[in-house]
Symmetry: C2
Subunit: 428 residues, 2 copies
Amino acid sequence: MGIILPPESFDWRIKGLPATWRGDAEALAGAGLSVLNEDLMLPAAVLRRSALEHNSGWMKRFTERTGTQIAPHGKTTMSPELFAMQMADGAWGITAATPCHVRAYRAFGIDTIFMANQLVGRENIAYVAAELRDNPGLDFYCLVDSMRAIDLLEAGLSATPAGRRLQVLIELGIPGGRTGFRDNAEALAAAERIAASPHVCLRGIEAFEGIIQSLEVAERDAKVDALLQRIVRLGEHCHDAGLFSGEPILSAGGSALFDRVAETFGAARKERPFLVLLRSGCYLVHDSHFYRQLIDQMEARSPIAASLGDGLRPALEVWAYVHSRPEPTRVIAGLGKRDIGEDVARPMLLAWVRPGPGAAPLPVDDTHRVMRLDDQHAYIDVPADSPLQPGDMIALGISHPCTTFDKWKLLYIVDDALVVTGSVRTYF
Amino acid sequence: MGIILPPESFDWRIKGLPATWRGDAEALAGAGLSVLNEDLMLPAAVLRRSALEHNSGWMKRFTERTGTQIAPHGKTTMSPELFAMQMADGAWGITAATPCHVRAYRAFGIDTIFMANQLVGRENIAYVAAELRDNPGLDFYCLVDSMRAIDLLEAGLSATPAGRRLQVLIELGIPGGRTGFRDNAEALAAAERIAASPHVCLRGIEAFEGIIQSLEVAERDAKVDALLQRIVRLGEHCHDAGLFSGEPILSAGGSALFDRVAETFGAARKERPFLVLLRSGCYLVHDSHFYRQLIDQMEARSPIAASLGDGLRPALEVWAYVHSRPEPTRVIAGLGKRDIGEDVARPMLLAWVRPGPGAAPLPVDDTHRVMRLDDQHAYIDVPADSPLQPGDMIALGISHPCTTFDKWKLLYIVDDALVVTGSVRTYF
């Protein structure tokens, strides 16, 4: 299945383009624009093609060796060009978070959509029902975590029939967590009701284990394993009771612990015909902090992950200018909250360049630290002997991709000389 | 001067629209869409027209009574529809933060642009120079805070001539702060050099006093007054030394302390012909927390602010569905970091609605508290006897407008019955 890339002409609506640029993606890819030659109105976001291709191959090998499928979470990038790369790698489908994501995915021509969320609201339900009714090839899934939600779906699907049963998975959750049944007995009652419904059918059991964070590693892993085991037990029970329609799905897997998911669900799959579905969204772009640490941990604990060769590489950098050095140990740069995420940690300096003939990036050590972001400014502490001056360019690594991608309508694809060879659009 | 509203047809690219909507702004305004009737794919952001009109009139009266001009900071909303409202109220121009903002403002037909930032980088300087060269009616200003920045501007303007001198203001700053000369003697040396330059000319003195926060009120006010006095002293000196070109500008004024700016600069204006330029960006939309408290303080200390009648009103709300109530005291709603800002404080519940015939908003008290935002989910603590259930709609107030506006390409204008009567676009 080919991904449809919406035709767009780029202009002043898109920050980071050259000043008077007008043209399409093909023209942009062929213009020979160079970050180092100051061809762009910085700040601008770039993706290193070499890292994207490496990460893409890494995950392809991981899913092949573990016998799992992946529906990468599209909320990370919302980019049809990156979805096309993931589908070409054999992705089972793309995961969505909201009905508006589903609507965008449909515009991209995606036919297998796993909405890892409850489907709530008259217009949201009516939209999905109409898509199902009008597109027999659409394979759509969403979650249920309460009897009330089943009532609402049944009422909505009575009012706006889908022409077939809506495929749902039961979501499990943990005390103090996000959505999901806390109790397997309540979840089983919901599963039985779904199996008997004329409007919905039961396709699997799932959870988002990624909310289990901020704990000491052994405690985190124990809680994750307990949640995954609850999914397996409920899945086995529903399978043996004949509650599932079609090949039952066991799904979990943020971007940090999918090795545990693959192992636990893979063991269950030896006994019953489960489809094991991972949903990692961040592996393709990766980052320079949060997932870097978590994937390092994975490689230390997982023989399969360790067997895949070099681990994931950070693909995304944001480039900006130094605007001011008003004090010997304080630099102010021209990027801020509008350009780069800081929800997990602040961005970190990777390199700097003094523009001019033959300009080349030089490394920056961790004595240079981003201390604060305003909307459009970064406050950076530097040693008194730092070379940085107004007019210098700096590259910042990100701590977490999800909250940097949504700051950009277009990100450049660059080669390792920072020459633009392509671009990706986002549709948040 | 009329604002140009870029013609756009709205479709799946814009979250929060009805599912199959295609049409322009005029059609959207006339479709009779209702939040309460669940016509929208929530989450969606709405602006109450009554609050916008009230706030617009409030600031018009404030600037008239204080003899000040205002160039509202456009970075808050990046919305040509709201800029049109501000220009119609008599705004002197619109303030920008980046060269990409300037490029958008030019597309909106704005001729007076105050870029409250350094102008750095080859492509950024070349763009502004070309605009100045090609558009004699363009009145553009930017800031300088180092000799190095003057070097870079002179080199850039030599390479890409603007055909006239670039108008700059000297920026003053404070120790430990953002940009700006820490020392008036260094600033004066820069002013003298600018006055003698063939490429740039000196048009005023400015600072952003809004970075002085998080202090006890009396200490904050003393620091702000000291900074404003430094601006006045340097402005007086430069005026008396004949360093300015044209009517000299004294400018400052975030959205919290513009009464102090009006008072201090207004006193200086009695002695010399200064243009006093405020730059508040948040007054029009206001908020339910950060600026609400700060404007309450202003009304308590400023007789002019107090004389203007009712203070500013929060115009912006984000509406979403309750997805789940997995524990008696925990509700999960379908909006997150992608939909609403949390950089100053988390959003707060304002109202809830049970959809159905005659549905009407009911107030929510502060026993309901947003505890955490994920990308697409909000975790809300509620009392065990809260009525909220999956499928209910909730309205959230914002703590700070700048980081909510940039989450939306389109915000609805609604009347007080939450019926859509218009929309505004954003171009971040």
